[in-house]
């Protein structure tokens, strides 16, 4: 079975640009979460979506937005990129995402470098 897939694997942007990252969950999973992992730190929660609705949001500015499509895939958008947005962006999928008893399965990530 295919795991969580993310595209692109690597991306280089300049300050002020916009970026879109994509994620496809495991088949049958309806919830997608996004995390940002800055070099040398643990991942930080950005968003969780379930059935196309935003269920939760972390402490990130409004420059960060996301959406989930009818096929449960998801996009993370970041506007007006800053140098500090350089990080590994991880997508995780789970069945429903509503409780801590569910496991979140992570994709390989998209490494974003902002110059």
């Amino acid at each position: 079975d295919a795991g969580v897939t993310q595209s692109p694997t690597h991306l280089i942007k300049t300050r002020g640009q916009h970026v879109t990252l994509r994620c496809s969950p495991i088949s049958g999973h309806k919830s997608v979460s996004w995390y940002q992992q800055v070099l040398g730190q643990g991942p930080q929660f950005i968003f969780q979506y379930y059935e196309k609705e935003e269920r939760g949001r972390g402490n990130f500015p409004d420059r960060f937005s996301a959406r989930q499509f009818p096929n449960y895939s998801s996009e993370l958008n970041v506007n007006a990129l800053l140098l500090g947005d350089s990080a590994l962006y991880l997508c995780a999928s789970s069945l429903r995402g509503g409780t801590g008893q569910e496991t979140q399965y992570f994709g390989p990530g998209t490494r974003l470098l902002v110059l």
Binding site: S33, G56, S94, G97, G98, G100
Partner: protein, 115 residues
């Protein structure tokens, strides 16, 4: 509020010797606790999880962890280290129930295994 403290940023062991990675947590709610492993340039892989069942949890690749409520700890152990265990390890906490499943990561422990 919930938080996780990984007590060692780096741990170095010799191949064939025991591994101990320490984690303390703080949670206002009954927690679910996880250990994830991240190999270089790879995504996060679940090692094991605790969700209020047995306090001694066995995971993949010979790892196990014990939930100790009185000590608010969830230390990860392995009897005998293998070279392939060299990686970054993250302790993770989340509420066992709630509206959504937001994973809170520790800062990580880098495990080095020497011949």
């Amino acid at each position: 509020a919930q938080s996780v403290t990984q007590l060692d940023s780096h741990v170095s062991v010799s191949e064939g010797t025991p591994v101990l990675l320490r984690c303390n947590y703080s949670s206002s709610y009954s927690p679910s606790l996880f250990w994830y492993v991240q190999h270089p340039n790879k995504g996060l892989q679940l090692l094991l999880k605790y969700t209020s069942a047995a306090t001694l949890v066995k995971g993949i690749n010979g790892f196990e962890a014990e939930f100790k409520k009185s000590e608010t700890s969830f230390h990860l152990t392995k009897p005998s280290a293998h070279m392939s265990d060299a990686a970054e390890y993250f302790c993770v906490v989340t509420p066992i129930s709630g509206g959504y499943n937001k994973l809170i990561f520790g800062a990580g422990t880098r495990l080095a295994v020497h011949p």
